[in-house]
């Protein structure tokens, strides 16, 4: 299935699919911003890894990008449009372009919906009629089966409720849901943390495959340096809300890294 023509939309190679400028977010009562003046750009088809210690603001950054929380200042230019200040109605048109996989899969699934319904929901709504490139489904059922297959889950899970799945299974379901509607950018907030290594590898391969075949761009947040290294072209290191280091993945082991980056590597 992989390897079809990239994207029917004209792609201006020069302009990044997502570019973030001076994004800042401070929680009420906090003494320093959780996300502090963060800027970066994400090219089409690129995977940008974000590593950093726990609590450094990675999840906050991703929530701001998705407009789940509103940043205090800064811009989020998605497909040429700054969505940082769009109102809810206008925003909806851009929703399809950016998707997220959350750190904690338990809360991300509606406990009252069966897996199949959770999966089909965004698809039925958004992609109905729209030609999806990757999943050439023939029916609702086929779509779900294909999606589950893509994340290597047995089709029978479709009829279960989230609380009847293991943590790893849940996470795969959320990944399936995010890629199902074939967005431009997927924010992956530690998507494989709760998977066993085989599944991890499989999911990472799958994600890479999808990226190349669909021209997806990833913002890949993880603390697993190996995974980030394997997935990403670019890596950013965050600390206390700021980007402290940024380099090409090949240069991970190169000299001149930020001391904090070095620490991360040495522990690994």
């Amino acid at each position: 299935m992989i390897g079809q023509s990239l994207n029917s939309k004209p792609t201006a190679i020069s302009s990044p699919v997502l570019s973030v400028g001076r994004l800042t977010r401070t929680y009420a009562g906090a003494d320093r911003p959780a996300v502090d003046n963060v800027s970066f750009a994400l090219e089409r088809g690129e995977c940008l890894g974000v590593v950093g210690e726990s609590g450094c603001g990675k999840s906050t950054l991703s929530r701001c990008l998705l407009r789940i929380e509103d940043a205090d200042s800064g811009s989020i230019v998605l497909g040429g449009q700054d969505i940082a200040r769009l109102n809810a109605r206008k925003l909806r048109a851009h929703r399809r372009s950016i998707q997220i996989v959350f750190q904690n899969p338990s809360a991300a699934l509606n406990p009252k919906l069966k897996i199949a319904d959770s999966l089909i929901d965004p698809y039925e709504h958004l992609a109905r009629g729209a030609q999806l490139k990757h999943f050439n489904y023939t029916s609702r059922k086929a779509y779900i089966r294909q999606l589950l297959e893509a994340v290597e889950l047995p089709a029978e899970l479709a009829n279960r409720y989230p609380h009847e799945l293991s943590g790893g299974q849940r996470q795969r379901v959320t990944i399936a849901r995010a890629i199902g509607i074939e967005p431009d950018v997927v924010v992956l907030d530690e998507p494989t943390a709760s998977l066993d290594v085989i599944s991890q590898g499989a999911v990472l391969d799958l994600l890479t495959g999808l990226r190349t075949s669909l021209g997806l761009s990833y913002l890949f947040i993880s603390h697993d340096l190996a995974a980030v290294h394997r997935m990403s072209q670019q890596i950013m290191v965050m600390r206390e809300g700021r980007i402290v280091d940024r380099f090409r993945a090949e240069d991970l082991m190169a000299e001149g890294r930020h001391p904090y980056t070095k620490e991360l590597i040495s522990i690994f």
Binding site: R92, R95, Q99, A107, N110, P111, S118, P122, Y161
Partner: protein, 286 residues
């Protein structure tokens, strides 16, 4: 916890309970059908025919439940009243739900000024005593049970809206709703598909008990000339009419009372059944 075998038992007991409920409901329906057949086909009483010399009679084959204070056959009135009472109270309840639930979901989900406005409207409705609403409506539109239903809806929808709103308020904080939003689902869909299942539990509980309260409300409002006009048989009115005989002939009050209880019971069973269907986790650790 010796819960391990115990849990198995509750599961088994559970399915048994469902079948027991079904049997109870079926028996009840049979009883009603048999009674109606006997009354309407064999006895053929006129539900409004008074007979002052034959009032307050005890049970007999001619009057299986005796006669009321005007000498009318109680069973006939009870059976005929069922349709009236149930129809109107269900109508009122249904309408209150149909108005209240969407209002509550929208207010709880949208927050902001929509919510504020809604809350104020709701508060406003709450400040009005139902009698006032009923009197004004009957005055403007004429007395009649239709307007009574309207009055009840006006009074009742707020509680559902409020209840729904509170559940929605806390539910929409959760990640899965955020995801649904980032999936670009329309608000309407999030509200119907993701939030609606969560409110079913509480709403069903409230609604199934409210049915009884609504029947009683109809009775108390028919007291001021709203609702079913005498001598229409109607459970609430029958209940009210038998007040004077509360000591001398308590069964006059017991019969419509029991009728209401059994309807509420059935509604409750239905509510619980539906609730269980919405409750995907089913059981809790004891």
């Amino acid at each position: 916890m010796k819960s391990i075998p115990l849990r198995v038992r509750t599961r088994a007991a559970k399915s048994k309970k469902h079948s027991v409920q079904a049997i109870v409901a079926a028996l009840f329906a049979l009883l009603v059908i048999a009674a109606s057949a006997y009354t309407f086909l064999v006895l053929k009483h006129d539900p409004t025919l008074t007979d002052l010399r034959g009032r307050l009679l005890g049970a007999s084959t001619l009057h299986p439940l005796g006669t009321d204070h005007l000498g009318r056959d109680v069973l006939t009135r009870l059976l005929l009243g069922g349709g009236q009472t149930l129809g109107y109270s269900l109508l009122a309840l249904g309408a209150a739900l149909v108005i209240g639930i969407p209002f509550g979901i929208v207010a709880g989900y949208k927050r902001g000024w929509v919510d504020k406005l809604f809350m104020r409207i709701a508060d406003g409705f709450l400040a009005f005593p139902d009698t006032i609403v009923a009197i004004v409506l009957s005055g403007l539109l004429g007395a009649g049970i239709g307007n009574l239903v309207l009055a009840i809806v006006i009074v009742k929808w707020v509680s559902y809206a409020r209840l729904v709103r509170s559940t929605v308020l806390s539910e929409s904080q959760k990640d899965y709703i955020r995801i649904a939003r980032t999936n670009g689902l329309s608000d309407a869909r999030i509200m119907t598909k993701h939030l609606l299942p969560h409110i079913a539990g509480h709403v069903l509980v409230l609604a199934s008990l409210d049915l009884g309260k609504i029947i009683l409300l109809i009775s108390s409002l028919s007291y001021i000339g709203l609702g079913a006009q005498p001598p229409t048989p109607e459970w609430g009115a029958m209940l009210n009419d038998s007040r004077p005989y509360f000591q001398s002939r308590p069964e006059l009050m017991v019969y419509p009372g029991l009728a209401i209880v059994s309807v509420v019971l059935l509604a409750n069973m239905l509510g619980d059944y539906l609730r269980d269907r919405f409750d995907v986790k089913k059981e809790v650790q004891p």
